[in-house]
Subunit: 349 residues, 2 copies
C-alpha cells in the first residue's frame, strides 16, 4: 500500500499536492506533427513495491520525443505508450512498499522510459538521483539525458581519459554541450562540430574547446587531423551517423573509439574495414532508453556519484535554451525541429 | 656484445649450429606469385641490447605472407622488408646484453614483425614465450598467430565469457580452428561457418561446436538465429569482412561484439547504424602485426600464461594441415591460396 504524501503539511513544505484521481499529461493523440500533442487528464499512477511516485516539476524535450510523436519510436514495455518524455526533475510524493532509498519530498532527477510530459510518474526508487541543492528543478530537468548520455558514452563506453582528444558532433545540442563539458571536466580536449558559426561561438563562450564549422560540403575530417597534429581524435561522439561515419574513421587516432548515439543524418553508413583494422578502431552503438533495470540503476548512480558533484563544484552547467510550460509542448517540438536551439528545451510542469 | 651459443657443447645439446656469416632465408625477389619466393643467403643477424637471436626450427604460412609477397602488405619498420613470416618456434642461440628472461638453448615461440622464413631471427627477449615440453617445435610453430589472434580477439578485446555464444567464420582456417578451441576452453559455445561440408565435419571431429554451411547464396544469419533460440551470437570473429558484416549484425545478440580480423571477402561493408544502436553493439577492427613493443610483450605473456597451460592440459591442440620444408615456401603459398587446407601450413626450417 503506497504511503501518500502527508496532507497535514508537517513534514515539509514543498507545495506538494493532495492526491487526485487524475493528473494532467501531454498525450500523443495520433501519430503526426506537433499539433497531435494535447493536454489530457490521465489516471494518477500508484507506486508498487520498490517504486516511488514523483511530482514532476520540469521535463525536457528530446529528439526521441519527436520520433515517438511521429509513430517511429514506440515506447518500451512498461512505459506509457502515448505520453512522451524521457527525463524528469521533481519531488518524491508517494512511496511504494519497501522503499528505503528515498523519502517523501526528496528532490530527485533521472531518466524514465517515457511518460515525463506529465504531472506525475512512477518509477523504481533506485533509478532516481538526488538533485544537488545548487540546481533548480528547471535546470535539473536539463541534465539527465544530455549528461548521462555523454558520461555513459564517453567515460563508461569509450573510456575517455585525461590527455585524450574527443570529437563531438552537433556540439550545440543538449548532448553535445554536455559532452564537451564532461570532456573538459575529466581533462580531455574537446573538438566540436556544428553547422553554424553562431553555435560554435556559443560553445567557445562556455569554454568548450575548439570548434569546427561543417559547411555545405559536410566535411570535417581534414580539419580534425590538422588540429590534432595529424594524430586524429581518440574518441568521436557521433549524433549524425550516416554521412559522418566514414569521416569519423578517417580522422580517428590509432585505437580510437567511435560512439554512435544518434542518426540525425541517416542510418546507413559505409565502413572501411581495412582502415578499421589498421587503426584497430571500434564503432559502437548506444541508446539509453529500453535498458534493463540494473543498467538504469547504474546510470542513476553515475548521475548521483559522478555528475552531481561536478555540478556542485561548478565544473558542469546545464545549458538551457528556453523554458516553456508543459502546455507548450507542441511549441517545444517545433523549436527543436527548427535546429536553431542551443542546449536543452525545458518544459516546466 | 652478444654472447654466442657455446661451441664446446658443454651447456646443452640441441644441435645448435656454429655462427656463420650468412644464414638461409626465403626472400621475395619482386612482388608477384609464389615463384618469386627464393632461397638466399642473408647476413646473420646479431642481437642488440635486450634482444635474442632464435635459431628457427619451424615457421608457418599466413594470409598476410601472401599479401606481402604480392606487394600489398609492406613489412612494418624494423622488420626485414623482403623476408616474409610472422611466427616462429625454435631455440635461443645468442643473447644480447642485459637479457635475463631467457637462456641459450631455451625453446621459444612467438610472433615477429616479419623475417620468420629464415634460419635465424633477432627479436626482443620479452616478445617470446617458452614452448611447453609437450609440444614439438613443428607443432609450436602452428600456435602463435592462430591462437594469439583468437585469444586477443575473443578474450582481451571481446571479453568472451563462459555461457556466451561465439560465431567464428572461416572455421577451418588456422585462426578459426584456434578460436573454436579457445571458446570451448573458456566455457563458451562455438558456432562455426565454412564453405565446405568437409571442413565443418573436421571441426566436428575436433569437438568444435556446431557448424553452419555457408552455401552459394552466402547467408548464415538465419541459421545462427535459429541455433541460438533467436538470441543471436554474443561475439562474432569475422575473417571475411565485407559481405558478412551486415549479416553479423543481423544475427548478433544484444550488446554483442563483432571483431573484424580479416577481409578475405572484401574491405567495404555497409553498417546499419539503427540496428547497431538498438542492439548496443560494437564493431572493432584488429591486427596483430605492427603493434608497439609493449603490446607485443603483452601478447607473448598471453601465449605463455594463458595459452601454454591449456596446451599442457590438453584443452588446446595445434591444428596442422601439413608440414613442408622452408625450401617449399612457394608450394605452401599455393596450398593456402587453394583454400583447401584445414588448419596451419607449417614450414620446417
Amino acid at each position: 500500500m503506497p504511503i501518500e504524501a502527508a496532507s497535514d503539511g508537517t513534514d515539509y513544505d514543498h507545495g506538494l499536492e493532495l492526491r487526485h484521481e487524475t493528473v494532467r499529461a501531454i498525450v500523443i493523440r495520433e501519430p503526426g506533427g506537433p499539433e497531435v500533442l494535447e493536454m489530457r487528464e490521465v489516471p494518477t499512477p500508484e507506486p508498487a513495491r520498490g517504486e516511488v511516485r514523483v511530482r514532476i516539476r520540469a521535463t525536457a524535450v528530446n529528439r526521441a520525443d519527436l520520433l515517438q510523436r511521429l509513430g517511429r519510436y514506440p515506447a518500451p514495455p512498461g512505459a506509457p505508450p502515448d505520453i512522451p518524455g524521457l527525463e524528469i526533475a521533481g519531488e518524491v510524493d508517494a512511496l511504494g512498499d519497501a522503499v528505503t532509498e528515498l523519502a517523501l519530498g526528496d528532490r530527485v532527477f533521472g531518466l524514465v522510459g517515457g511518460g515525463a510530459y506529465a504531472e506525475h510518474v512512477v518509477v523504481h526508487a533506485r533509478t532516481l538521483a538526488r538533485v544537488p541543492a545548487s540546481l533548480t528543478l528547471a535546470d535539473a530537468a536539463a541534465v539527465p539525458e544530455a549528461f548521462v548520455t555523454a558520461w555513459d558514452a564517453l567515460i563508461d563506453q569509450a573510456n575517455l581519459t585525461a590527455g585524450e582528444t574527443v570529437l563531438v558532433h552537433a556540439a550545440g545540442s543538449g548532448v553535445g554541450t554536455a559532452a564537451l563539458q564532461v570532456a573538459k571536466a575529466v581533462g580531455a580536449q574537446g573538438l566540436g562540430t556544428a553547422r553554424t558559426a553562431e553555435k560554435l561561438e556559443r560553445c567557445r563562450e562556455l569554454g568548450l574547446g575548439e570548434g569546427i564549422l561543417v559547411d555545405d560540403d559536410g566535411t570535417f575530417a581534414d580539419d580534425v587531423l590538422a588540429r590534432t597534429g595529424h594524430r586524429g581524435a581518440d574518441v568521436v561522439l557521433d549524433l549524425v551517423g550516416g554521412p559522418y561515419l566514414p569521416q569519423d574513421l578517417a580522422c580517428l587516432a590509432q585505437k580510437g573509439r567511435i560512439i554512435v548515439a544518434g542518426t540525425l543524418g541517416g542510418g546507413q553508413a559505409t565502413l572501411n574495414l581495412h582502415l578499421l583494422m589498421r587503426k584497430r578502431a571500434s564503432v559502437r552503438g548506444t541508446v539509453l532508453r529500453a535498458r534493463p533495470l540494473e543498467e538504469k540503476i547504474a546510470t542513476a548512480q553515475a548521475l548521483e556519484r559522478h555528475l552531481a558533484p561536478l555540478f556542485v563544484r561548478g565544473l558542469l552547467h546545464p545549458v538551457v535554451d528556453s523554458v516553456l510550460q508543459l502546455e507548450q509542448a507542441a511549441e517545444g517540438h517545433r523549436l527543436m525541429q527548427s535546429n536553431r536551439t542551443f542546449g536543452k528545451i525545458v518544459l516546466a510542469v
